[in-house]
């Protein structure tokens, strides 16, 4: 049963486009593609639409060369490539919540070169540590809401917003509960499974996803993975959906017990705290959530959060990955590694590209594992 649930997550990812097309057929509702997790999906659910995250396919993206200079990160190029290749031709619109320049470029290229009916850019504030950010964002969200209403001709009601908030909160809460099982000495789910759970939640109807999560939570207490967990690893960095890498590393005798990035725990860590002013409530969630580094200043709050995760999940070592050319995350690598070192967590840096050269990486990861735990008794 548990295996079937994880198989379902995998199938959803592998067949994300088929799923979406079928969903649309079935419900006759609109689908919105979004690029960054700063897009408040609550409002899209409130508008009775299905938000799906646009992610790459890890094929070398030759088609983007005319639109994006190759010094921008592979994720932003790979995402655009999906659009240019028509793989998202079913979406009714695209929305971006301001994060890094890289994805902004993808958004603009998409808007200019790929036929879509609706394109909206939300100027999510960068100064999330200043007190004016929340009211400002609430106004930006009001504008977003109005643009949606004008487009569909349908009002987004308070009830709708409540529904949206509930759907999102529920899904995040359930996934956090699953994460509790990763804290165990012998975790009940592997890193790749956790990644597939989170990734699939960004691709399908959250209500359907939550149903499955409920089942999973019933099953998990009785699950026995029958595998030696090996070294407890953490993975930190830019967006990461490289399932091949995760699988390969875990096969070397390790388990990813937690990750800090936006296809992992960062996506589900914070909830909307309901209040009368719904948009203020949503705005607070996006300003106060575990931030993307591009917004995290003057204090390094994300680093503090990563350190806390490392302790709570009892990690032995961390892989710090950087998507090549990703500036916001790249800038923080030394302070991050130092902060982890101070709490006794060793780190190893790896630079990711659209595909990872596993041959080269394997030796490094294996050697890192050896330095952490592997060879102690042989000296």
């Amino acid at each position: 049963m548990t295996e079937e649930i994880f198989q379902q997550f995998r199938d959803w990812i592998d067949n994300r486009h088929e799923y979406a097309k079928e969903w649309k057929e079935r419900t006759n509702k609109k689908i919105i593609g979004y690029l960054c997790t700063y897009v408040p999906e609550e409002i899209l659910y409130a508008a009775d639409m299905l938000p799906v995250r646009i992610l790459g396919s890890h094929e070398p993206p030759t088609v983007t060369e005319p639109y994006i200079f190759a010094m921008f990160c592979h994720l932003c190029r790979d995402c655009l490539a999906q659009g240019l290749k028509g793989r998202f031709n079913y979406i009714d619109g695209i929305v971006e919540g301001q994060s890094c320049l890289h994805l902004r470029q993808t958004f603009n290229a998409w808007r200019l070169h790929i036929p879509t009916n609706f394109a909206h850019y939300i100027h999510i504030p960068h100064g999330i540590q200043n007190p004016h950010a929340i009211p400002y964002l609430a106004q930006e969200l009001a504008k977003f809401k109005k643009t949606l209403e004008d487009w569909t001709g349908k009002k987004i009601t308070n009830e709708g917003l409540d529904k949206g908030i509930k759907i999102m909160n529920k899904n995040r809460e359930l996934m956090r509960k699953v994460h509790e099982y990763r804290k165990l000495d012998n975790p009940k789910i592997t890193g790749i499974e956790a990644m597939e759970m989170v990734l699939s939640s960004q691709m399908v109807d959250k209500q359907e996803h939550s149903k499955l999560l409920n089942k999973l939570l019933e099953e998990l207490p009785n699950r026995n993975l029958n595998r030696n967990p090996g070294t407890r690893l953490m993975i930190i960095g830019s967006e990461d959906d490289d399932r091949v890498f995760m699988k390969n590393v875990e096969a070397l005798g390790a388990t990813f017990v937690i990750e800090e990035h936006c296809t992992g725990s960062r996506y589900l860590w914070d909830d909307v705290v309901p209040s009368e002013d719904r948009l203020m409530a949503i705005a607070s969630r996006y300003v106060n959530r575990v931030p993307c580094p591009s917004k995290d200043w003057p204090e390094f709050t994300r680093i503090q959060h990563a350190v806390k995760l490392a302790k709570d999940f009892n990690v032995q070592g961390a892989l710090v990955i950087q998507n090549k050319f990703c500036d916001p995350h790249g800038i923080e690598i030394p302070p991050l590694r130092e902060a982890l070192k101070q709490v006794g967590v060793q780190t190893y840096p790896l630079e990711f590209d659209v595909t990872v050269p596993w041959g080269q990486f394997r030796t490094r990861v294996e050697a890192f594992l050896e330095t952490l735990t592997g060879l102690e008794e042989l000296f």
Partner: protein
Amino acid sequence: MSEKSKEFWRWREYRHTMPNMDWHDAKMVTAGVDIGSVGSKAAVMLDGELYTYAAMRTGGVSEETAVKAMNWAIEETGLKTEDIHYVVGTGYGRVNVPFAKRTITEIACHARGAHYIYGPTVRTVLDIGGQDCKAIRCDEKGKVMSFLMNDKCAAGTGRGLEVFADLIRTPIEELGKTSLSVQDEPQPVSNTCVIFAKAESVALLRQGWPKEKVSAAYHLAMVNRIIDLLTKVGIEKDFVVTGGVAKNTGIVSRLERNLKLKPLEPKLDPILAGAIGSALFAKALYEKEIGLR
């Protein structure tokens, strides 16, 4: 073979057995096989002392090379593979050593091998092999503390030197010496890419630079890249160089000059560090197996 088709990059293969040692006297016979992308090395140790070894070029099929290197190492010693208690494979082709019981990365093995070759004062090991270059920090037992490998660009490796040796028609063993014969160091070639560094060298040769000078420029560029890597991991004394390129004096003496730090002199062939390290791990693993640890 005509001068024209002579392959200057082909470094000499060799084997050696220590005199005055007899494997029959040993309690533990262990071996390490290091299948690198360019060179394959096998070493057999008796109770943790180097007994016999071989170094040869890696062929098209790693399994065959592994068998060949091992057989060559034990040739004429009377030792048979079955007599070896434990074999550890390492290097790029470590999973392709059919008779190895376990694999360990070349990073751990080089550190441990360096510890054996150079003694317990070693803290920084620089391994320059065929296709990569590793900077390793280790403790007094030869255990890895941290390490870094060169990324993306293969410039600054043994393979690049082989390409270059062919280009200037100088046997690889003499390449380093040739590069040291110039009076003043020229500007390094600017391109760090192996392919373009070669193209740039061609351009310099066409401008009439003597090959010694071009060679110096090429070596210097490599050394600069290696130093970049070393500073990232942080250099601490004592510093040593292992891997095949440790035999290239053009690289080692420039490292010494530019780092203002003298690497220790090897007491044994430094290309063997990986194989020796894995043979030592093999010993520890065997001890564990028979309950000695």
